[in-house]
């Protein structure tokens, strides 16, 4: 103990400089962790943290037995898999073409265009969806011009999966391209020059030089993303689907379920239980993924 005090006196200014940040994380991150106790209670607002009735694992049992937990877990994982796999393949493809085609102006403009969605708020995604898919949206206007019957998107569940996946990939395309472009820039020009002299054409060079050298980055990014596969993109789903109950079976993810438990159904215990389940298994996943990365490439591990 005396060591701490000696250290405190010696570096008192440094301690003072980091105390606000420590207090912040204690209040806004660590104290809410105590609140996972709500998952084991039937919550009452007056009772609060310690006055609510303790019910053990009842909330979890209900979530499992009602099938809700299975459905939101399945949706969260499947959507994230689609975002990760389609997204990464598209990002690698774009980055390779962007790095190889001639024309500086074209590349700059195209890259800026692809990066723009990252900067826009999800509310704007909601505005796009309204503009495109509402009863007098662009899609229905085009259908009418082609003399086809109108299509009511809000009565059909099928298209929304694809709309969500489209906008999810749309939002993240630019970032991914930037990261892969940086990885491509790290590949030494010498490989390409040598291959050119040996008569390799561009397809052969991409296949035998660029792609193999991108594999570590690709695997690393996929692994990192898989570590977060239980975390849903709440804003994306909520701005597209909202509280439209008809679509829940195919579009409800853990995050939207937790939000609705809080804001719509006022089922604090159930929502906290689903959130704790997400945090707990998410934690195990990240630690596992980190262990795997450490095995492959120690310098890329997270901790």
């Amino acid at each position: 103990m005396s060591g701490i005090f000696r250290e405190l006196r010696k570096n008192s200014v440094l301690f003072a400089m980091i105390v606000p940040t420590l207090v912040y994380f204690i209040v806004f991150a660590y104290i809410p962790m105590v609140g996972v106790y709500y998952a084991f209670t039937r919550f009452s607002y007056e009772g609060g943290l310690f006055g609510s009735e303790f019910v053990g694992f009842k909330n979890f049992e209900f979530l499992i037995n009602s099938g809700v937990l299975w459905n939101i877990t399945k949706n969260t994982i499947l959507y994230n898999l689609a975002f990760i796999l389609i997204g990464n393949v598209l990002q690698v493809t774009c980055a390779i073409f962007l790095s190889e085609v001639p024309g500086k102006w074209f590349k700059k403009t195209a890259q800026s265009a692809m990066f723009l969605p990252y900067f826009l708020s999800y509310v704007l995604v909601g505005a796009f969806v309204f503009n495109l898919f509402s009863s007098n949206g662009v899609i229905n206007t085009i259908l009418a011009q082609l003399d086809l019957p109108p299509y009511d998107f809000y009565l059909n569940t099928e298209p929304w999966k694809y709309i969500i996946v489209f906008f999810g990939i749309w939002k993240g395309l630019g970032i991914g391209v930037v990261i892969y472009l940086a990885a491509i820039m790290n590949i030494s020009d010498e490989y390409h020059e040598a291959a050119k002299i040996d008569g390799a054409n561009i397809f052969q060079r991409v296949k035998y030089i660029t792609l193999p050298l991108l594999v570590p980055t690709f695997i690393l990014l996929i692994l990192l993303a898989l570590g977060g596969i239980l975390r849903g993109q709440f804003e994306l789903f909520y701005q597209i689907v909202g509280n439209n109950g008809m679509l829940f079976e195919s579009t409800d993810i853990i995050d939207t379920y937790v939000y609705r438990s809080l804001a719509v159904n006022f089922d604090i215990g159930m929502g906290t239980a689903a959130g704790l389940y997400q945090s707990f298994f998410g934690f195990i996943l990240v630690v596992t993924v980190n262990y795997i990365i450490k095995k492959i490439r120690d310098d890329y591990s997270l901790f």
Partner: protein, 295 residues
């Protein structure tokens, strides 16, 4: 030397140009649709619906907004105020913490780093956090509920720490020999050398504050306190309600916000981001590649 390009290169470039152009247009298209939608005559939308290129152009929606702009002006004030305060305060706290954690002679730097990093791995979830904010901190309908949550993030602190690690230790050491205090070293020497890192994290913060609607949705009740994106969200959502049959019960002289008005509101709210975008993009690129390479 290059008399004619290889055939393979021609094929490659053609595929490349077509694919990249297609995706780039797809990325811009929704935004362009909103833009043209906002300049369409309301009557045309009621008659035919939204089009990619309207037949009748109109400024009606913008005129309607600027006739009584109080609400948008108010929301702009809220968002700009929050963004400025949040960025300045957030950068100050993040860079101080980052500097302390980057000091090799600070004994507990690894323990504290992990203490902060751990919050990225595990969290109590939305609901315990919400109850803390509302019941125990009393932040319902308070600007603090919008200001505090994005202020510090473990990701930013770690990014800043890694950035400051790249500044040579000799600067701190020689200043100490000259008798400078720790805070003075941070304020006068380290901060000026950290401008690229500060710019990147400042932009992350600014984007977070500017685009936030979620916090307002959870915590804000008073209309005067709505930030921009939340105001837009409410404007869009009011239509969703009015489209249902329940709207028929409303009084007949109630005029729902028109379709084009929503699009114009979206443009007015997003405008500054798109306008500033070309200038700030490169800092983001730098920040992302900085963040991708773990230090």
């Amino acid at each position: 030397m290059k008399i004619k390009m290889e055939r393979a290169s021609v094929v490659f470039n053609t595929i490349g140009y077509i694919l990249i152009t297609f995706l780039a247009v797809l990325c811009l298209l929704p935004f362009l649709l909103i833009l043209t939608g906002s300049f369409t005559a309301e009557s045309e939308i009621i008659r035919d619906g939204f089009k990619i290129i309207p037949n009748e152009w109109s400024l009606e929606a913008y005129k309607a907004i600027f006739r009584s702009p109080e609400q948008i002006v108010k929301a702009y004030q809220v968002t700009i105020g929050l963004t400025l305060t949040g960025v300045v305060l957030g950068l100050f706290l993040t860079s101080m913490a980052g500097y302390v954690l980057s000091r090799k002679d600070f004994k507990y730097r690894n323990a504290i780093s992990f203490f902060i990093y751990f919050t990225m791995l595990f969290s109590g979830g939305l609901i315990p956090w919400y109850i803390l904010m509302v019941k125990y901190l009393g932040l319902k309908d308070s600007f603090l509920a919008l200001l505090l949550p994005p202020l510090l993030s473990a990701f930013n602190v770690i990014l800043m720490k890694n950035f400051m690690k790249s500044i040579p230790d000799s600067i701190t050491e020689s200043a100490k020999i000259d008798g400078a205090g720790d805070f003075a070293i941070y304020w006068k020497l380290i901060l000026p050398l950290s401008t690229p890192g500060l710019a990147t994290i400042g932009l992350f913060l600014a984007l977070g504050y500017w685009n936030d609607w979620f916090l307002a949705n959870l915590y804000i009740n008073t209309q005067d306190k709505y930030p921009l994106q939340f105001l837009l969200y409410r404007t869009l959502a009011s239509a969703a309600v009015l489209n249902t049959s329940a709207a028929a019960n409303l009084s007949p002289d109630f005029r729902p916000p028109s379709e084009t008005l929503k699009m114009a509101a979206a443009i007015i709210v997003t405008g500054p981001i798109v306008f500033l975008y070309p200038f700030v993009q490169r800092y983001f690129v730098k920040g992302l590649t900085l963040g991708a390479v773990k230090g």
